[in-house]
Protein backbone atom coordinates (compact mmCIF):
# COMPACT_ATOMS: atom_id res chain seq x y z
CA UNK A 1 0.00 0.00 0.00
CA UNK A 2 2.86 2.34 0.80
CA UNK A 3 4.27 1.63 -2.63
CA UNK A 4 0.96 2.36 -4.29
CA UNK A 5 0.68 5.62 -2.36
CA UNK A 6 4.21 6.53 -3.39
CA UNK A 7 3.46 5.83 -7.06
CA UNK A 8 0.23 7.85 -6.98
CA UNK A 9 2.00 10.67 -5.22
CA UNK A 10 4.76 10.53 -7.82
CA UNK A 11 2.27 11.07 -10.63
CA UNK A 12 0.27 13.66 -8.67
CA UNK A 13 3.35 15.75 -7.90
CA UNK A 14 4.55 15.37 -11.47
CA UNK A 15 1.33 16.66 -12.98
CA UNK A 16 1.05 19.42 -10.37
CA UNK A 17 4.48 20.82 -11.16
CA UNK A 18 4.06 20.81 -14.92
CA UNK A 19 4.31 24.07 -16.84
CA UNK A 20 4.26 23.35 -20.58
CA UNK A 21 2.69 20.03 -19.73
CA UNK A 22 -0.60 21.63 -18.68
CA UNK A 23 -1.16 23.10 -22.13
CA UNK A 24 -0.16 19.79 -23.64
CA UNK A 25 -2.56 17.82 -21.47
CA UNK A 26 -5.36 20.17 -22.46
CA UNK A 27 -4.52 19.54 -26.11
CA UNK A 28 -4.31 15.78 -25.53
CA UNK A 29 -7.70 15.64 -23.80
CA UNK A 30 -9.43 17.74 -26.45
CA UNK A 31 -7.80 15.62 -29.14
CA UNK A 32 -8.84 12.34 -27.55
CA UNK A 33 -12.39 13.64 -27.20
CA UNK A 34 -12.51 14.59 -30.88
CA UNK A 35 -10.98 11.29 -31.99
CA UNK A 36 -12.80 8.82 -29.78
CA UNK A 37 -16.11 10.55 -29.21
CA UNK A 38 -16.86 12.64 -32.29
CA UNK A 39 -14.97 10.80 -35.05
CA UNK A 40 -15.35 7.27 -33.76
CA UNK A 41 -19.03 7.40 -32.86
CA UNK A 42 -20.38 9.61 -35.63
CA UNK A 43 -18.13 8.92 -38.57
CA UNK A 44 -16.29 5.65 -38.13
CA UNK A 45 -18.61 2.76 -37.61
CA UNK A 46 -17.26 -0.68 -38.35
CA UNK A 47 -18.89 -1.36 -41.71
CA UNK A 48 -18.96 -5.16 -41.59
CA UNK A 49 -20.05 -5.34 -37.96
CA UNK A 50 -22.80 -2.80 -38.54
CA UNK A 51 -24.20 -4.23 -41.76
CA UNK A 52 -23.86 -7.98 -41.27
CA UNK A 53 -24.91 -10.19 -38.41
CA UNK A 54 -22.67 -13.24 -38.74
CA UNK A 55 -19.12 -13.94 -39.82
CA UNK A 56 -20.51 -16.11 -42.62
CA UNK A 57 -22.44 -13.16 -44.02
CA UNK A 58 -19.37 -10.99 -43.71
CA UNK A 59 -17.12 -13.48 -45.47
CA UNK A 60 -19.68 -13.97 -48.25
CA UNK A 61 -19.85 -10.22 -48.74
CA UNK A 62 -16.06 -9.94 -48.90
CA UNK A 63 -15.82 -12.83 -51.39
CA UNK A 64 -18.33 -11.05 -53.60
CA UNK A 65 -16.16 -7.96 -53.48
CA UNK A 66 -12.97 -9.90 -54.17
CA UNK A 67 -14.15 -11.92 -57.14
CA UNK A 68 -15.72 -11.02 -60.43
Amino acid sequence: MIWLKKILNFYFEGFKNMTVGRTLWTIILIKLFILFVIFRIFFFKDYLKTNFKTDKERSNHVIEQLTH
Binding site: V20, L35, F43, Y47, S59, V62
Partner: protein, 532 residues
Amino acid sequence: MFEHVDFSLVNWSRAQFALTAIYHWLFVPLTLGLSFIIAFMESIYIKTGNEEWKRITKFWMTLFGINFAIGVATGIILEFEFGTNWSNYSWFVGDIFGAPLAIEGIMAFFMESTFIAIMFFGWNKVSKKFHLLSTWLTAVGANLSALWILVANGWMQNPVGMWFNPEMARNEMVNFWEVLFSPSAISKFTHTTSSGFVLASLFVVGVSSWYLLKKREIVLAKKSILIASVFGIISSVYLITTGDYSAKTLSKTQPMKIAAAEGLYVGSEKAPLLAFGILTKTTDDEILTDSKKFILRIEVPFEGFLSFMANGHSNSFVPGIKDLVEGNPKYNILSYYEKAERGYFAQQVLKEFKDIKDKESPEYKSMLARFSDKDFLENYLKYFGYGTFYDKDEVRMKMKILKIIPNIPLTFYAFHLMVMLGFLFLLIFSLFLYLILKDKIENKGWRWLLRLGILSIPLAYIASESGWIVAEVGRQPWVVQDMMTTLTAVTKINSSSVKITFFLFACTFTILLIAEIRILAKQISKGATESK
Protein backbone atom coordinates in the same frame (compact mmCIF):
# COMPACT_ATOMS: atom_id res chain seq x y z
CA MET B 1 -15.34 -5.30 -61.99
CA PHE B 2 -14.17 -1.93 -63.35
CA GLU B 3 -17.63 -1.09 -64.63
CA HIS B 4 -18.97 -1.13 -61.06
CA VAL B 5 -16.16 0.80 -59.43
CA ASP B 6 -16.76 4.31 -58.13
CA PHE B 7 -13.30 5.73 -58.80
CA SER B 8 -14.21 8.89 -56.93
CA LEU B 9 -14.77 6.78 -53.80
CA VAL B 10 -11.49 4.90 -54.28
CA ASN B 11 -9.53 8.10 -54.84
CA TRP B 12 -11.08 9.93 -51.89
CA SER B 13 -10.52 6.93 -49.62
CA ARG B 14 -6.91 6.78 -50.73
CA ALA B 15 -6.51 10.53 -50.29
CA GLN B 16 -7.99 10.32 -46.81
CA PHE B 17 -5.66 7.51 -45.79
CA ALA B 18 -2.65 9.27 -47.33
CA LEU B 19 -3.51 12.50 -45.54
CA THR B 20 -3.82 10.75 -42.18
CA ALA B 21 -0.64 8.73 -42.66
CA ILE B 22 1.37 11.75 -43.82
CA TYR B 23 0.24 13.87 -40.87
CA HIS B 24 0.86 11.01 -38.44
CA TRP B 25 4.35 10.62 -39.85
CA LEU B 26 5.10 14.28 -39.17
CA PHE B 27 5.14 13.49 -35.45
CA VAL B 28 6.55 9.97 -35.28
CA PRO B 29 10.10 10.23 -36.68
CA LEU B 30 11.10 13.02 -34.31
CA THR B 31 9.96 10.89 -31.37
CA LEU B 32 11.94 7.89 -32.64
CA GLY B 33 15.19 9.78 -33.07
CA LEU B 34 15.05 12.46 -30.39
CA SER B 35 14.44 9.85 -27.69
CA PHE B 36 17.86 8.33 -28.44
CA ILE B 37 19.60 11.71 -28.65
CA ILE B 38 18.22 12.57 -25.20
CA ALA B 39 19.41 9.21 -23.91
CA PHE B 40 22.93 9.90 -25.22
CA MET B 41 22.94 13.34 -23.59
CA GLU B 42 21.74 12.05 -20.26
CA SER B 43 24.31 9.24 -20.37
CA ILE B 44 27.04 11.86 -20.73
CA TYR B 45 25.54 13.76 -17.80
CA ILE B 46 25.59 10.66 -15.61
CA LYS B 47 29.11 9.79 -16.75
CA THR B 48 30.60 13.28 -16.28
CA GLY B 49 28.37 14.73 -13.58
CA ASN B 50 28.46 18.01 -15.53
CA GLU B 51 25.23 19.91 -14.73
CA GLU B 52 25.36 21.59 -18.15
CA TRP B 53 24.55 18.25 -19.76
CA LYS B 54 21.57 17.87 -17.43
CA ARG B 55 20.31 21.29 -18.52
CA ILE B 56 20.78 20.33 -22.19
CA THR B 57 19.06 16.98 -21.68
CA LYS B 58 16.08 18.62 -19.99
CA PHE B 59 15.75 21.20 -22.76
CA TRP B 60 15.54 18.60 -25.55
CA MET B 61 13.33 16.46 -23.34
CA THR B 62 10.81 19.30 -23.21
CA LEU B 63 10.76 19.52 -27.01
CA PHE B 64 10.45 15.75 -27.18
CA GLY B 65 7.50 15.92 -24.77
CA ILE B 66 5.71 18.52 -26.87
CA ASN B 67 6.09 16.48 -30.03
CA PHE B 68 5.09 13.27 -28.26
CA ALA B 69 2.00 14.81 -26.68
CA ILE B 70 0.71 16.40 -29.87
CA GLY B 71 1.43 13.32 -31.96
CA VAL B 72 0.08 10.71 -29.58
CA ALA B 73 -2.99 8.84 -30.87
CA THR B 74 -2.89 10.48 -34.32
CA GLY B 75 -2.23 7.00 -35.70
CA ILE B 76 -5.38 5.61 -34.13
CA ILE B 77 -7.39 7.24 -36.92
CA LEU B 78 -5.72 4.91 -39.39
CA GLU B 79 -7.25 2.02 -37.48
CA PHE B 80 -10.68 3.66 -37.58
CA GLU B 81 -10.32 3.98 -41.34
CA PHE B 82 -9.52 0.29 -41.72
CA GLY B 83 -12.89 -0.69 -40.28
CA THR B 84 -14.95 1.94 -42.07
CA ASN B 85 -13.28 2.72 -45.36
CA TRP B 86 -11.22 -0.42 -45.93
CA SER B 87 -13.47 -3.08 -44.44
CA ASN B 88 -12.79 -5.67 -47.16
CA TYR B 89 -9.10 -5.23 -46.56
CA SER B 90 -9.51 -5.46 -42.78
CA TRP B 91 -11.41 -8.68 -43.12
CA PHE B 92 -9.04 -10.15 -45.71
CA VAL B 93 -5.85 -9.55 -43.68
CA GLY B 94 -7.42 -10.96 -40.52
CA ASP B 95 -5.21 -11.49 -37.49
CA ILE B 96 -2.00 -10.88 -39.40
CA PHE B 97 -2.61 -7.18 -39.10
CA GLY B 98 -4.45 -7.43 -35.81
CA ALA B 99 -1.77 -9.31 -33.86
CA PRO B 100 1.14 -6.90 -34.46
CA LEU B 101 -1.13 -3.91 -33.83
CA ALA B 102 -2.32 -5.41 -30.54
CA ILE B 103 1.30 -5.99 -29.46
CA GLU B 104 2.08 -2.42 -30.46
CA GLY B 105 -0.79 -1.11 -28.35
CA ILE B 106 0.25 -3.06 -25.27
CA MET B 107 3.90 -2.18 -25.70
CA ALA B 108 3.17 1.50 -26.27
CA PHE B 109 0.98 1.62 -23.20
CA PHE B 110 3.21 -0.21 -20.76
CA MET B 111 6.69 0.76 -21.87
CA GLU B 112 6.20 4.29 -23.11
CA SER B 113 3.64 5.54 -20.62
CA THR B 114 5.48 4.13 -17.61
CA PHE B 115 8.98 5.18 -18.53
CA ILE B 116 8.04 8.51 -20.07
CA ALA B 117 6.43 9.44 -16.74
CA ILE B 118 9.66 8.60 -14.89
CA MET B 119 11.64 10.46 -17.52
CA PHE B 120 9.65 13.65 -17.03
CA PHE B 121 8.60 13.49 -13.39
CA GLY B 122 11.45 11.45 -11.94
CA TRP B 123 14.28 14.02 -11.76
CA ASN B 124 15.51 14.03 -8.13
CA LYS B 125 12.82 11.50 -7.19
CA VAL B 126 14.41 8.32 -8.47
CA SER B 127 18.13 7.54 -8.58
CA LYS B 128 20.14 9.01 -11.44
CA LYS B 129 20.85 5.59 -12.87
CA PHE B 130 17.23 4.51 -12.74
CA HIS B 131 16.24 7.76 -14.41
CA LEU B 132 18.77 7.13 -17.15
CA LEU B 133 17.46 3.59 -17.56
CA SER B 134 13.93 4.98 -17.97
CA THR B 135 15.13 7.38 -20.65
CA TRP B 136 16.77 4.56 -22.57
CA LEU B 137 13.73 2.33 -22.18
CA THR B 138 11.51 5.13 -23.47
CA ALA B 139 13.68 5.32 -26.58
CA VAL B 140 13.76 1.55 -27.06
CA GLY B 141 10.02 1.29 -26.34
CA ALA B 142 9.11 3.98 -28.84
CA ASN B 143 11.14 2.25 -31.53
CA LEU B 144 9.78 -1.18 -30.66
CA SER B 145 6.26 0.23 -30.95
CA ALA B 146 7.14 1.27 -34.46
CA LEU B 147 8.43 -2.24 -35.15
CA TRP B 148 4.98 -3.83 -35.00
CA ILE B 149 3.17 -1.46 -37.31
CA LEU B 150 6.10 -1.69 -39.72
CA VAL B 151 5.96 -5.49 -39.58
CA ALA B 152 2.29 -5.25 -40.54
CA ASN B 153 3.17 -2.89 -43.37
CA GLY B 154 6.00 -5.20 -44.44
CA TRP B 155 3.50 -8.04 -44.69
CA MET B 156 1.30 -5.97 -46.99
CA GLN B 157 4.31 -5.40 -49.26
CA ASN B 158 5.29 -9.07 -49.15
CA PRO B 159 2.61 -11.39 -47.71
CA VAL B 160 4.24 -14.45 -46.11
CA GLY B 161 3.65 -16.80 -43.21
CA MET B 162 -0.09 -17.11 -43.78
CA TRP B 163 -2.74 -19.45 -45.12
CA PHE B 164 -5.78 -18.16 -46.98
CA ASN B 165 -8.89 -19.60 -45.39
CA PRO B 166 -11.49 -19.80 -48.20
CA GLU B 167 -14.37 -20.45 -45.79
CA MET B 168 -13.79 -17.11 -44.07
CA ALA B 169 -12.13 -15.30 -46.99
CA ARG B 170 -9.35 -14.17 -44.74
CA ASN B 171 -5.68 -14.82 -44.19
CA GLU B 172 -4.60 -16.63 -41.05
CA MET B 173 -1.12 -16.44 -39.60
CA VAL B 174 0.61 -19.82 -39.64
CA ASN B 175 4.16 -18.68 -38.99
CA PHE B 176 4.64 -15.64 -36.75
CA TRP B 177 8.43 -15.66 -37.15
CA GLU B 178 8.20 -15.67 -40.94
CA VAL B 179 6.00 -12.57 -40.72
CA LEU B 180 8.30 -10.90 -38.18
CA PHE B 181 11.57 -11.67 -39.93
CA SER B 182 10.52 -11.38 -43.55
CA PRO B 183 13.07 -9.31 -45.51
CA SER B 184 10.35 -6.73 -46.20
CA ALA B 185 9.59 -6.31 -42.50
CA ILE B 186 13.29 -6.05 -41.64
CA SER B 187 14.01 -3.48 -44.35
CA LYS B 188 10.87 -1.52 -43.47
CA PHE B 189 11.80 -1.34 -39.79
CA THR B 190 15.49 -0.59 -40.18
CA HIS B 191 15.09 1.93 -43.00
CA THR B 192 12.15 3.74 -41.42
CA THR B 193 13.53 4.05 -37.91
CA SER B 194 16.95 5.14 -39.17
CA SER B 195 15.24 7.84 -41.23
CA GLY B 196 13.71 9.01 -37.93
CA PHE B 197 17.20 9.16 -36.38
CA VAL B 198 18.44 11.32 -39.25
CA LEU B 199 15.42 13.61 -39.04
CA ALA B 200 15.79 14.09 -35.30
CA SER B 201 19.51 14.78 -35.68
CA LEU B 202 18.73 17.46 -38.25
CA PHE B 203 16.11 18.91 -35.91
CA VAL B 204 18.73 19.25 -33.16
CA VAL B 205 21.30 20.66 -35.59
CA GLY B 206 18.73 23.09 -37.01
CA VAL B 207 17.51 24.42 -33.65
CA SER B 208 21.10 24.71 -32.41
CA SER B 209 22.06 26.56 -35.60
CA TRP B 210 19.31 29.07 -34.89
CA TYR B 211 20.76 29.68 -31.43
CA LEU B 212 24.23 30.18 -32.85
CA LEU B 213 22.92 32.65 -35.42
CA LYS B 214 21.15 34.51 -32.59
CA LYS B 215 24.27 34.19 -30.40
CA ARG B 216 22.26 32.56 -27.63
CA GLU B 217 22.66 29.29 -25.73
CA ILE B 218 26.10 28.87 -27.28
CA VAL B 219 27.24 26.02 -25.04
CA LEU B 220 23.97 24.14 -25.44
CA ALA B 221 24.05 24.62 -29.20
CA LYS B 222 27.63 23.47 -29.66
CA LYS B 223 27.30 20.42 -27.43
CA SER B 224 23.98 19.51 -29.07
CA ILE B 225 25.46 19.83 -32.55
CA LEU B 226 28.33 17.56 -31.53
CA ILE B 227 25.97 14.82 -30.37
CA ALA B 228 23.50 15.26 -33.23
CA SER B 229 26.10 15.37 -35.99
CA VAL B 230 27.83 12.21 -34.75
CA PHE B 231 24.48 10.43 -34.38
CA GLY B 232 23.42 11.89 -37.74
CA ILE B 233 26.50 10.58 -39.55
CA ILE B 234 26.13 7.10 -38.05
CA SER B 235 22.40 7.08 -38.80
CA SER B 236 22.89 8.36 -42.35
CA VAL B 237 25.39 5.63 -43.16
CA TYR B 238 23.02 3.10 -41.61
CA LEU B 239 20.15 4.62 -43.58
CA ILE B 240 22.04 4.23 -46.85
CA THR B 241 22.94 0.63 -45.95
CA THR B 242 19.33 -0.22 -45.11
CA GLY B 243 18.22 1.54 -48.30
CA ASP B 244 20.52 -0.76 -50.25
CA TYR B 245 19.05 -3.79 -48.45
CA SER B 246 15.59 -2.45 -49.19
CA ALA B 247 16.41 -2.22 -52.92
CA LYS B 248 17.58 -5.83 -52.96
CA THR B 249 14.40 -6.92 -51.19
CA LEU B 250 12.20 -4.93 -53.56
CA SER B 251 13.86 -6.43 -56.63
CA LYS B 252 12.53 -9.80 -55.48
CA THR B 253 9.16 -8.82 -54.06
CA GLN B 254 8.11 -5.61 -55.83
CA PRO B 255 10.14 -5.20 -59.02
CA MET B 256 7.56 -2.80 -60.44
CA LYS B 257 8.26 -0.38 -57.59
CA ILE B 258 11.98 -0.34 -58.46
CA ALA B 259 11.20 0.10 -62.16
CA ALA B 260 8.85 3.02 -61.42
CA ALA B 261 11.22 4.63 -58.91
CA GLU B 262 14.07 4.46 -61.43
CA GLY B 263 11.96 5.28 -64.49
CA LEU B 264 13.15 2.00 -65.99
CA TYR B 265 10.71 1.42 -68.83
CA VAL B 266 12.72 -1.30 -70.56
CA GLY B 267 14.88 -3.62 -68.51
CA SER B 268 18.48 -4.47 -69.23
CA GLU B 269 21.56 -6.23 -67.98
CA LYS B 270 24.13 -3.85 -66.49
CA ALA B 271 21.26 -1.46 -65.77
CA PRO B 272 22.48 2.06 -64.97
CA LEU B 273 21.38 4.02 -61.92
CA LEU B 274 19.91 7.44 -62.52
CA ALA B 275 21.27 10.23 -60.36
CA PHE B 276 18.57 12.54 -61.63
CA GLY B 277 16.20 12.87 -64.53
CA ILE B 278 13.26 14.79 -65.94
CA LEU B 279 10.49 12.65 -67.36
CA THR B 280 8.46 13.52 -70.44
CA LYS B 281 4.71 13.51 -70.07
CA THR B 282 3.77 9.98 -71.04
CA THR B 283 0.18 8.87 -71.64
CA ASP B 284 -1.05 5.39 -70.75
CA ASP B 285 -0.86 4.38 -74.42
CA GLU B 286 2.79 5.40 -74.63
CA ILE B 287 4.09 3.66 -71.51
CA LEU B 288 4.87 0.40 -73.28
CA THR B 289 6.02 1.94 -76.55
CA ASP B 290 9.53 3.06 -77.47
CA SER B 291 8.60 6.76 -77.24
CA LYS B 292 11.06 9.13 -75.60
CA LYS B 293 10.56 8.98 -71.84
CA PHE B 294 13.15 11.47 -70.55
CA ILE B 295 13.86 15.12 -71.28
CA LEU B 296 17.02 14.86 -69.20
CA ARG B 297 18.77 11.93 -67.58
CA ILE B 298 21.98 11.92 -65.60
CA GLU B 299 23.37 8.49 -64.85
CA VAL B 300 25.68 7.55 -62.01
CA PRO B 301 29.01 6.88 -63.77
CA PHE B 302 29.38 3.25 -62.66
CA GLU B 303 28.34 0.61 -65.14
CA GLY B 304 25.54 -1.62 -63.92
CA PHE B 305 25.04 0.24 -60.65
CA LEU B 306 21.27 -0.35 -60.57
CA SER B 307 21.87 -4.04 -61.35
CA PHE B 308 24.29 -4.14 -58.44
CA MET B 309 21.86 -2.36 -56.13
CA ALA B 310 18.98 -4.62 -57.08
CA ASN B 311 20.72 -7.98 -57.30
CA GLY B 312 24.23 -7.62 -55.94
CA HIS B 313 25.79 -8.20 -59.40
CA SER B 314 26.51 -5.41 -61.86
CA ASN B 315 25.95 -7.74 -64.86
CA SER B 316 22.52 -8.91 -63.74
CA PHE B 317 19.21 -8.14 -65.43
CA VAL B 318 16.80 -5.62 -63.92
CA PRO B 319 13.30 -5.83 -65.42
CA GLY B 320 11.66 -2.67 -66.67
CA ILE B 321 7.99 -1.78 -66.72
CA LYS B 322 7.56 -3.29 -70.18
CA ASP B 323 9.18 -6.60 -69.15
CA LEU B 324 6.91 -6.88 -66.14
CA VAL B 325 3.73 -6.07 -68.03
CA GLU B 326 4.40 -8.03 -71.22
CA GLY B 327 6.61 -10.70 -69.66
CA ASN B 328 10.11 -11.74 -70.61
CA PRO B 329 10.56 -15.49 -71.18
CA LYS B 330 14.36 -15.18 -71.30
CA TYR B 331 14.37 -14.16 -67.65
CA ASN B 332 11.34 -16.23 -66.60
CA ILE B 333 9.15 -13.20 -66.07
CA LEU B 334 5.47 -13.96 -66.33
CA SER B 335 3.39 -11.30 -68.09
CA TYR B 336 0.65 -9.45 -66.23
CA TYR B 337 -1.80 -10.89 -68.78
CA GLU B 338 -0.87 -14.42 -67.76
CA LYS B 339 -1.04 -13.46 -64.08
CA ALA B 340 -4.47 -11.92 -64.63
CA GLU B 341 -5.74 -15.14 -66.20
CA ARG B 342 -4.37 -17.22 -63.35
CA GLY B 343 -5.72 -14.83 -60.76
CA TYR B 344 -9.11 -14.91 -62.43
CA PHE B 345 -9.05 -18.69 -62.29
CA ALA B 346 -8.27 -18.59 -58.55
CA GLN B 347 -11.13 -16.16 -58.04
CA GLN B 348 -13.53 -18.48 -59.86
CA VAL B 349 -12.43 -21.40 -57.67
CA LEU B 350 -13.18 -19.31 -54.57
CA LYS B 351 -16.52 -18.27 -56.01
CA GLU B 352 -17.51 -21.86 -56.78
CA PHE B 353 -16.38 -22.93 -53.32
CA LYS B 354 -18.55 -20.29 -51.72
CA ASP B 355 -21.63 -21.53 -53.58
CA ILE B 356 -21.36 -25.12 -52.32
CA LYS B 357 -23.90 -25.40 -49.53
CA ASP B 358 -23.24 -28.93 -48.28
CA LYS B 359 -20.06 -28.83 -46.20
CA GLU B 360 -19.96 -32.59 -45.96
CA SER B 361 -20.03 -33.20 -49.70
CA PRO B 362 -16.91 -34.61 -51.41
CA GLU B 363 -17.02 -31.65 -53.80
CA TYR B 364 -16.72 -29.22 -50.90
CA LYS B 365 -13.85 -31.15 -49.35
CA SER B 366 -12.03 -31.45 -52.64
CA MET B 367 -12.38 -27.70 -53.29
CA LEU B 368 -11.19 -26.89 -49.77
CA ALA B 369 -8.14 -29.10 -50.30
CA ARG B 370 -7.18 -27.01 -53.32
CA PHE B 371 -6.41 -24.10 -51.01
CA SER B 372 -3.64 -26.19 -49.46
CA ASP B 373 -2.43 -27.62 -52.76
CA LYS B 374 1.08 -26.39 -53.58
CA ASP B 375 0.48 -26.08 -57.32
CA PHE B 376 -2.72 -24.07 -56.85
CA LEU B 377 -1.12 -21.84 -54.19
CA GLU B 378 2.05 -21.08 -56.15
CA ASN B 379 0.62 -20.81 -59.63
CA TYR B 380 -2.88 -19.43 -59.17
CA LEU B 381 -3.75 -18.14 -55.71
CA LYS B 382 -0.47 -16.22 -55.62
CA TYR B 383 -1.85 -14.04 -58.43
CA PHE B 384 -5.34 -13.77 -56.95
CA GLY B 385 -5.46 -9.96 -57.11
CA TYR B 386 -4.46 -9.82 -60.78
CA GLY B 387 -7.79 -11.48 -61.55
CA THR B 388 -9.42 -8.10 -60.91
CA PHE B 389 -7.88 -6.88 -64.17
CA TYR B 390 -8.93 -9.88 -66.26
CA ASP B 391 -11.26 -9.36 -69.19
CA LYS B 392 -12.31 -11.80 -71.90
CA ASP B 393 -12.02 -9.00 -74.41
CA GLU B 394 -8.33 -8.56 -75.28
CA VAL B 395 -8.50 -4.83 -76.02
CA ARG B 396 -10.34 -4.07 -72.78
CA MET B 397 -7.91 -6.27 -70.85
CA LYS B 398 -4.93 -4.36 -72.27
CA MET B 399 -6.46 -1.14 -71.00
CA LYS B 400 -7.11 -2.64 -67.57
CA ILE B 401 -3.62 -4.12 -67.25
CA LEU B 402 -2.13 -0.63 -67.56
CA LYS B 403 -3.83 0.16 -64.24
CA ILE B 404 -1.35 -2.20 -62.54
CA ILE B 405 1.41 0.30 -63.24
CA PRO B 406 1.83 2.81 -60.39
CA ASN B 407 2.09 6.56 -60.84
CA ILE B 408 5.56 6.70 -62.38
CA PRO B 409 6.36 10.45 -62.14
CA LEU B 410 5.32 10.65 -58.48
CA THR B 411 7.28 7.53 -57.51
CA PHE B 412 10.29 8.56 -59.61
CA TYR B 413 10.59 12.13 -58.30
CA ALA B 414 9.83 11.19 -54.68
CA PHE B 415 12.51 8.49 -54.81
CA HIS B 416 15.20 10.72 -56.29
CA LEU B 417 14.36 13.59 -53.98
CA MET B 418 14.65 11.26 -50.98
CA VAL B 419 17.99 9.84 -52.12
CA MET B 420 19.51 13.23 -53.00
CA LEU B 421 18.45 14.74 -49.70
CA GLY B 422 19.76 11.69 -47.83
CA PHE B 423 23.25 12.24 -49.25
CA LEU B 424 23.00 16.00 -48.68
CA PHE B 425 22.20 15.37 -45.01
CA LEU B 426 25.30 13.21 -44.64
CA LEU B 427 27.36 16.07 -46.06
CA ILE B 428 25.69 18.58 -43.71
CA PHE B 429 26.37 16.43 -40.64
CA SER B 430 30.00 15.93 -41.69
CA LEU B 431 30.54 19.66 -42.15
CA PHE B 432 28.93 20.47 -38.81
CA LEU B 433 31.03 17.87 -37.02
CA TYR B 434 34.24 19.11 -38.64
CA LEU B 435 33.52 22.72 -37.69
CA ILE B 436 32.54 21.85 -34.14
CA LEU B 437 35.69 19.81 -33.64
CA LYS B 438 37.79 22.64 -35.12
CA ASP B 439 35.79 25.20 -33.11
CA LYS B 440 35.04 27.23 -36.24
CA ILE B 441 31.27 26.92 -36.25
CA GLU B 442 30.77 30.53 -35.13
CA ASN B 443 33.05 31.99 -37.80
CA LYS B 444 31.29 34.50 -40.03
CA GLY B 445 32.20 32.56 -43.16
CA TRP B 446 30.08 29.61 -42.02
CA ARG B 447 26.87 31.47 -41.30
CA TRP B 448 25.43 30.06 -44.52
CA LEU B 449 25.86 26.57 -43.08
CA LEU B 450 23.94 27.56 -39.97
CA ARG B 451 21.13 28.83 -42.20
CA LEU B 452 21.29 25.58 -44.16
CA GLY B 453 21.09 23.77 -40.82
CA ILE B 454 17.77 25.48 -40.11
CA LEU B 455 16.53 24.80 -43.64
CA SER B 456 17.47 21.14 -43.23
CA ILE B 457 14.59 20.67 -40.73
CA PRO B 458 11.80 21.03 -43.34
CA LEU B 459 14.00 19.23 -45.88
CA ALA B 460 14.25 16.28 -43.50
CA TYR B 461 10.46 16.09 -43.29
CA ILE B 462 10.19 16.29 -47.08
CA ALA B 463 12.70 13.46 -47.47
CA SER B 464 10.94 11.37 -44.84
CA GLU B 465 7.49 11.80 -46.38
CA SER B 466 8.95 11.18 -49.84
CA GLY B 467 10.16 7.82 -48.58
CA TRP B 468 6.61 6.88 -47.64
CA ILE B 469 5.32 8.10 -51.00
CA VAL B 470 7.79 5.80 -52.77
CA ALA B 471 6.78 2.90 -50.53
CA GLU B 472 3.03 3.38 -50.81
CA VAL B 473 2.45 4.95 -54.23
CA GLY B 474 5.10 2.70 -55.76
CA ARG B 475 3.18 -0.42 -54.77
CA GLN B 476 -0.14 0.65 -56.22
CA PRO B 477 -2.59 -0.78 -57.11
CA TRP B 478 -1.89 -3.29 -54.34
CA VAL B 479 -2.89 -3.04 -50.72
CA VAL B 480 -1.66 -6.60 -50.26
CA GLN B 481 0.95 -7.28 -52.91
CA ASP B 482 -0.46 -9.39 -55.79
CA MET B 483 -3.38 -10.48 -53.62
CA MET B 484 -5.68 -7.54 -53.10
CA THR B 485 -6.08 -4.28 -54.97
CA THR B 486 -7.12 -0.89 -53.65
CA LEU B 487 -10.25 -1.22 -55.79
CA THR B 488 -11.40 -4.36 -54.01
CA ALA B 489 -10.17 -3.33 -50.56
CA VAL B 490 -12.29 -0.21 -50.33
CA THR B 491 -15.71 -0.24 -48.64
CA LYS B 492 -18.49 0.64 -51.01
CA ILE B 493 -19.92 3.55 -49.07
CA ASN B 494 -21.01 6.95 -50.24
CA SER B 495 -18.01 8.94 -51.40
CA SER B 496 -19.45 12.14 -49.95
CA SER B 497 -19.03 10.77 -46.40
CA VAL B 498 -15.37 10.07 -47.18
CA LYS B 499 -14.98 13.63 -48.46
CA ILE B 500 -16.47 15.01 -45.23
CA THR B 501 -14.10 13.04 -43.01
CA PHE B 502 -11.20 13.95 -45.29
CA PHE B 503 -11.75 17.65 -44.64
CA LEU B 504 -12.47 17.07 -40.94
CA PHE B 505 -9.13 15.33 -40.61
CA ALA B 506 -7.38 17.96 -42.65
CA CYS B 507 -8.70 20.66 -40.28
CA THR B 508 -7.99 18.71 -37.07
CA PHE B 509 -4.48 17.74 -38.05
CA THR B 510 -3.64 21.19 -39.35
CA ILE B 511 -4.74 22.70 -36.03
CA LEU B 512 -2.63 20.14 -34.18
CA LEU B 513 0.35 20.87 -36.38
CA ILE B 514 0.02 24.62 -35.89
CA ALA B 515 -0.28 24.03 -32.13
CA GLU B 516 2.86 21.90 -32.17
CA ILE B 517 4.90 24.39 -34.18
CA ARG B 518 3.76 27.31 -32.01
CA ILE B 519 4.48 25.56 -28.71
CA LEU B 520 7.81 24.26 -29.98
CA ALA B 521 8.77 27.70 -31.30
CA LYS B 522 7.83 29.29 -28.00
CA GLN B 523 9.95 26.83 -26.02
CA ILE B 524 12.90 27.16 -28.37
CA SER B 525 12.64 30.92 -28.18
CA LYS B 526 12.67 30.73 -24.37
CA GLY B 527 15.81 28.63 -24.47
CA ALA B 528 17.08 26.10 -21.96
CA THR B 529 17.34 28.50 -19.05
CA GLU B 530 13.70 29.47 -18.95
CA SER B 531 12.05 26.29 -20.24
CA LYS B 532 10.95 23.62 -17.81
